[in-house]
Amino acid sequence: MAENDRRNQGYRGGRKRRYRDDDDFDRRPQRRRYEEPLFAQVRRQLLTIAESAARRAEDDVQGIAKTVADNYEDEEIRGDFVNIALDLVLEQPMKIPFIAGTVLVAHSLKPELGSEVLSKAAEALQKYIDIGAWREVKLLIRFLGILQPVYEGDGIFPLLEELFARAVDLQTASSEDLLGLELVKIIQFTIPYVMLSPATGFEAQASALLEKTDIIASTPHALVDLVNTFSPEENQEAAGQSVISLMQTQLQREANQGWELKCLPRPWKDVRDAETDEPKSFESVTKVPFPTVTVPNPVLNGARPLFPEVYLSVYANQEVDTVPSTTDISSSLIRDALVDTINLLDFNRVATAKFLIDIDCYFTTTTFVKRATPFDRMRELAGEVQPWKPEDVAVDAVFSQLFQLPASEHKLVYYHSVLTECCKIAPAAIAPSLGRAIRFLYNSLETMDLELSNRFLDWFAHHLSNFGFTWKWSEWVDDLDLPAIDPRMAFIQGALDKEIRLSFAQRIKGTLPDPYPKLITAAKEKDTPEFKYSSEMAPYSKQGQELMQLIRKKASDEEIQSVITAIEDQAKSQGVEDPKIPSTDAFVTSLCFVGSKSLSHVLSCIERSKDRLLAIGTESQRARCQIITSVMEYWVDQPGIAINIIDKLLNYTILTPLSVLEWALSESVAAGTILSKPHIFEMISATVGKVTNRMRQIVAARAQPGLYEPQLSVIDETLVRERTDMQSLFKYIEDSIVSIAAGSNDQQMERGDGSGTLPEDAIIRQWGRRWLRVFRRKAAVEESFISDALANATPLGTQAPPVSGREGATDGDLDIADADAP
């Protein structure tokens, strides 16, 4: 039964053939075939190894090994076995002990088979080392590490020593080095698997290596604080340790306990010798030399940018432990395997979710309690041997990736989708785990990194949108009395706004218990916000209405201009300092109103008025700010639409990124209270993101190989200019917020008695500190990206080689053109 289930999930080789696939003639078999060819059977067994709780994984391991060894002469079976085994190592890391176990047993039966796997693995390993794909290196070395008993001499240790030597070189060369740390991480995450293997007598070597990695792993890298989920400044207690320093302590503890490694499976353990029926000793297998792998000097890093990683658990500090504590090596070993699985399988979130739900199949049976054990039951179970809650451990790993700083490996929505799928597969088991995670995150809102609390907000709203917007809002009722700028209140209001953006106000209102519905005002329920000039009382009301009518009927520019002039004349006569401001307000507000029907309506309005808007934008900084003010005020109750329009205005270059910052951080800063609004953070992040994306495209164009003068200088000039612009943008943010964080912003000083002791003052200063941290980090990350990318770029002044190689130069023009695309 289990096998039938699996076939329909579309694993490789299991696809249903439709007769239409055959173009030439109908080849439908006349009756169902019952015999599965042997190679297909091996393939299927291998691909689904350990997946079923109904079978023993040990039987899978032995069964496959035996079939393959018995049919060694069959090239198809042999080829499939070698290929699929290594593919699984690289794509489904939780299965590595089972794959390695299969290869171990196969090798003991047929050493040639083992050698074939080894040589293919080594060839791949060499390739990945050369290109600097360190995750693949880690996984292949882990696999090779479990095969330690088949090697002559020290086996895998010399390779680990060599990697360590490179790490030392890198670390000595620069204190900012991150690649060395990555190499240390690879060594750390290999040692337990070598010690897990049936090989014996390597304790001393492992300890010696551990002693060496200690210095590097225990010295905190300067960037750790910057990528921490919690800034140590805000919450020293919650700030996590780096993954490698944590692992170092855990490894030492495990070494002292004789490498018990109690969560990792040893599927080779009860293999029996075919002849003697004694437990199989892998010490006596045919030994082969460890394959030759050379580690280049120096090593380089591949496509994935490296940053220190910090261990995060959203189930820390519960009254009952449901996940391994950070003193236990299981926390790191399980997390590492899960995280790689999640990030490697981004192309099939359903499969990822399935693996997460089936997590208990891939570790020892004593590791987890039964699936879907309620939290309350865990309390009763709490005893000496504490098994963990599989759902919590799985969900924890997903959150650790969703909350990775400075950036997650994949788009955030991938992690959203994994959690959604988990909930779909096992709603009763997963939903309560998510509930507790949400509670932890909500309670951490004040001190969590601001970028992460916004990711939390975004996920929360998106997740609820997939499940009928149901949430136990009642538990946060008490917080509704908090001031609007309190992080929790800001979260609640922000979440409701985001929910509305994915749905509509009335619907969301209907999902809320009392007294929440009052948070969704009547104005929010209006599809078309009021046009302020409709009121006779509004200044310029007559002209405003006229302007709106003209825009609606797509009148000529002259007609529009005459109304604009009328507004400006009236303003002047009333002594308004900058008459452009009321005229811009009337014009932009009218555009918003006429375009309020949908995004494409407002876009076509903007498109038609592009020249006029561009002219306003270039005329005065205050008029440019007024464009933003008018948009934000018209859509004040639906901020999602407002920031979307701002985004499009940036694309049209009607607004400059700096003008958006000026608007938010100076014009509308409201003594810093604006910093509490999630949509403002979203708008500023998006604006800065546009600038940094463009910057990165130009850097990529500058760094491409085969670029020569004069193109080189042309691109370089653009780069220098844009880089300066980007830096001044970051400087502007820094300068504006630093004073808010210090409480010395002019408006702040004027509040109350100016002593900065109003209850809200402390909250505002905290918002300021949290904003600063985010944008300082962004600035640092961009600078390091640029310097890394340019380190190996062709130096200025390089001429094309005399005859060949001219083609490269023309490419440069194309690429810079591409970089101009938004």
Partner: protein, 178 residues
């Protein structure tokens, strides 16, 4: 030779069976003619596709909602709502165009099959929007699938229109016969 020439689990960023079979059918017809035409592989047209067809939307889902969800996979270049050929009202599908192929693939992987406006939506890689394709091709102006649908779907105009008409007629006749 594998080492991930093929993945160990299926990929969600492939063209749908619908797209592939639609192209196959066309190829099959071509073959009946004397001159076998140089056939284009379906994958070839989608190699750099940045557009997605999005289906099973509610008629009431707005551009803003679509934008809100789909922008999670990258900046949206263009959004074309599918309209009823006659009424020019939304009829439950749209085209979303991104700036990059990768964003479109990510959308297939992360958004296709999830909910928007509380309906599971479907996404399919598309060779690109062309004028005219924004209109429903069904007899009554909407999408073909909404003509004969026998289930009641409040988000998509109730029963299928042709089906509904027939039901209505039968009911009337039954009444008249009495």
């Amino acid at each position: 030779m594998s080492l991930l020439a093929r993945n160990t689990v299926d990929r969600l960023d492939r063209p749908s069976a619908y797209y592939v079979s639609k192209n196959k059918r066309r190829r099959f017809n071509d073959r009946d003619e004397d001159e076998p035409q140089q056939e284009e592989k379906p994958d070839e047209k989608l190699k750099n596709a940045t557009t997605l067809y999005v289906g099973n939307l509610s008629f009431y889902t707005t551009e803003e909602q679509i934008h809100e969800l789909f922008a999670k996979c990258g900046e949206i270049k263009r959004l074309v709502m599918g309209l009823d050929r006659f009424n020019k009202t939304p009829c439950g599908f749209c085209f979303v165009e991104y700036y990059t192929h990768q964003d479109a693939l990510d959308c297939l992987k992360y958004i296709g099959g999830t909910k928007l406006d509380e309906r599971i939506i479907r996404t399919d890689l598309d060779p690109g929007f062309e004028e005219g394709r924004q209109f429903g091709r069904g007899k009554s102006g909407g999408q073909v699938r909404d003509e004969y649908r026998e289930e009641y779907d409040p988000g998509r105009g109730g029963y299928g229109r042709a089906y509904d008409e027939q039901r209505q007629r039968e009911e009337d006749e039954y009444g008249a016969g009495r």
